[in-house]
C-alpha cells in the first residue's frame, strides 16, 4: 500500500476538500469506480479533506454530481505539477541548461596536473617535459592518449623507469617511478686503468692486475693514473689488461662554516587566521586578506571537488596562518663548536667512500663577532680511491674499483 501511495505521489496528486451531506456515499462511489483516495480526514459535519491521484481527479466531477457533493482543490502536488510549473519559467530552465553545458564543456579540458612519486627529479622539470608532450593546463582532455604519452616521456627522460597517466575528470595525475641509475660496470674483457678519483697520499696498494705506477707514500692528484692497464715487458712488448685492485690512500676533507651563537626558535603564539579561497579551473580567488601577522607559519590545505574520482575543476583552498615569535636563547661557545663540528663531519662521512675508515679530525674555531663563530674541521680518512677508466675511451665514466 505504501508503495502505491509513493507511486501516486510521484505521478501527481490533488488535495481536495469535499463538501456535502452524504460523504460516505461519495467515498463508496469513488472506491467502486476505482478512484484511489488516501489520507482522508473529516473536517466537520459535512466536509472532509483527502488526496486523489490526477487520473482519479479527472472523473471526480461525475461522482460529485451523482452524490451531490462539491469538490474544491486545496493544493496540487507531485512531479507532473512541478514540471508544469517550471515549464512556464523558460529562462530559469535555460539558465540550468547553460550552467550544465558550461560545466560539461569546461570539463573537457585539463585543469590540474599532479605529479606524484618523484624524489630526485624536480616536479617543475617533469611538468615541463609533460608540457612538451601536450600534457598542460587547458589541453583538450580527449586528445591525451595515455599509452603513447607514457612511452614518449619515458623515452625522453632517462631517469624515469615508469610513468602512468591517470585522467580523473579535469585532473591529470602523473605517477612516476625514478630509475636507480646503476654504476657503469666495465666488462672484465675490456681493458682499463685505475685512476685516482680523489687527491690523497697512497697508504697501501693491493693490485690484482696491472702495472703499479705509484708506491705507498706518494702524493697523487685527482685523475692521476694509479695502476696502468698497459703493461710493457722487455722482450715481450706491450699488452693491455683489465687493471684491478684497491688503492688505499689517506684523504683529507676540510670545511669551514659559520654558526650562530644564538639559538633561534619560532614559537607559535596561538593566534591563527584562516583564509579561504576557491579556484575554478586553476584560477584562484581568495576571500579576505591574507597573512595578517608579522611572522607566521602557514599550513595549506586543498580540497578538490570531485564526484568519485572525477575532478570537476573546482578546488577549495584553506590557508591557516599561525602567528609565531622568534625566541632567542644564547648558547655556550663550546656547545656550538661541538655541534657544528659534528654536523660538518657527518657531511664528510657522506662524501667519503662508504667503506672509508675514519682516522682523525681536527676542530678549530674562530669567533667572528658576538653572535657568530666559524668552525673549521679537517678530517682524515683512509679509503679506496681507485676508479676504473676504460683505456680506449679514456674519458669514459668510471666505476668504483
Amino acid at each position: 500500500m505504501g508503495l502505491n501511495k509513493t507511486l501516486h505521489a510521484v505521478g501527481g496528486y490533488v488535495v481536495i476538500r469535499v463538501q456535502g451531506r452524504f460523504l460516505e456515499r461519495f467515498l463508496n462511489v469513488c472506491t467502486k469506480r476505482n478512484i484511489y483516495l488516501w489520507d482522508i480526514t473529516r473536517l466537520g459535519e459535512d466536509a472532509l479533506r483527502c488526496k486523489v491521484s490526477l487520473k482519479g481527479f479527472r472523473i471526480l466531477p461525475v461522482v460529485a454530481r451523482k452524490t451531490h457533493c462539491r469538490v474544491r482543490i486545496v493544493a496540487k502536488c507531485g512531479l507532473p505539477i512541478a514540471v508544469h510549473k517550471y515549464k512556464k519559467r523558460k529562462w530559469f530552465l535555460a539558465g540550468i541548461g547553460v550552467f550544465l553545458l558550461l560545466m560539461l564543456s569546461l570539463n573537457l579540458y585539463v585543469w590540474k596536473i599532479d605529479v606524484v612519486g618523484n624524489e630526485k627529479i624536480p616536479t617543475d622539470i617533469l611538468l615541463a617535459e609533460l608540457d612538451k608532450s601536450g600534457v598542460r593546463v587547458g589541453q583538450f582532455r580527449f586528445r591525451l592518449d595515455e599509452k603513447s604519452l607514457q612511452n614518449e616521456i619515458i623515452a625522453r627522460v632517462p631517469q624515469l623507469s615508469w610513468l602512468w597517466i591517470n585522467k580523473q575528470g579535469s585532473r591529470v595525475v602523473v605517477q612516476v617511478k625514478e630509475r636507480e641509475m646503476p654504476p657503469e660496470v666495465i666488462d672484465p674483457s675490456q681493458t682499463c686503468d685505475l685512476v685516482a678519483k680523489k687527491a690523497g697520499v697512497i697508504h697501501n696498494l693491493n693490485v690484482r692486475a696491472g702495472q703499479n705506477l705509484v708506491a705507498a707514500g706518494d702524493t697523487v692528484q685527482e685523475g692521476a693514473v694509479l695502476v696502468s692497464g698497459t703493461i710493457e715487458t722487455e722482450g715481450v712488448g706491450v699488452r693491455t689488461v683489465h687493471a684491478d685492485g684497491e688503492v688505499l690512500a689517506r684523504t683529507w676533507y676540510e670545511k669551514t662554516q659559520a654558526f650562530s651563537l644564538v639559538h633561534r626558535e619560532q614559537v607559535p603564539t596561538g593566534n591563527t587566521k584562516t583564509q579561504w579561497g576557491v579556484s575554478f579551473f586553476g584560477h584562484p580567488f581568495w576571500f579576505g586578506k591574507g597573512d595578517p601577522f608579522a611572522q607566521s607559519q602557514v599550513t595549506k590545505q586543498d580540497m578538490d571537488w570531485a564526484i568519485g574520482n572525477t575532478y570537476l575543476g573546482v578546488t577549495i583552498h584553506k590557508n591557516v596562518y599561525h602567528e609565531v615569535t622568534t625566541e632567542e636563547t644564547p648558547m655556550a661557545l663550546d656547545d656550538v663548536v661541538a655541534q657544528g663540528a659534528d654536523q660538518i663531519q657527518k657531511e664528510f662521512a657522506r662524501e667519503a667512500d662508504s667503506q672509508a675508515k675514519f682516522v682523525k679530525a681536527d676542530v678549530t674555531h674562530q669567533q667572528i663577532d658576538e653572535e657568530t663563530v666559524e668552525v673549521t674541521v679537517i678530517a682524515e680518512y683512509i679509503e679506496n680511491i681507485a676508479k676504473k677508466v676504460r683505456i680506449d675511451s679514456g674519458t669514459a665514466e668510471g666505476a668504483d674499483g
Partner: protein, 96 residues
Amino acid sequence: MRKKDKTQKPTMKQKLGDLLELPADLLADVPHMTLNDNQEIYIENYKGIIEYDEHMVRLNSKGYTIRITGRGLAIYSITDEEIGIRGTILCIEFVA
C-alpha cells in the same frame, strides 16, 4: 482451526477449507483485519462505508457491521476491497 459457531451454518467453502486444513482467510471472503497497536487498523474484504467521522467509523461487511470507535480517526487509504484507518482506536465492535 476455527471454532464453528452453532448459530451459523458452515458454508460449502468453510467445509472445504476445514477438509484441506487451509487458513480460513485464504478461502472465504470474510473480512480480514490487521491491527497495529491501537493506532492503525487495516481491513480487507469490507463492503463499504456506512458512516465516517473522527470518533467513529462504521463499515459494512459480509453478514455484519464493523464499528470502530476512537479518537482522531482518519482513513489513510481506501480502495474497493481494503481500507486503512489511523487514529487512537478504543473499540472494535461487530454488530449483527
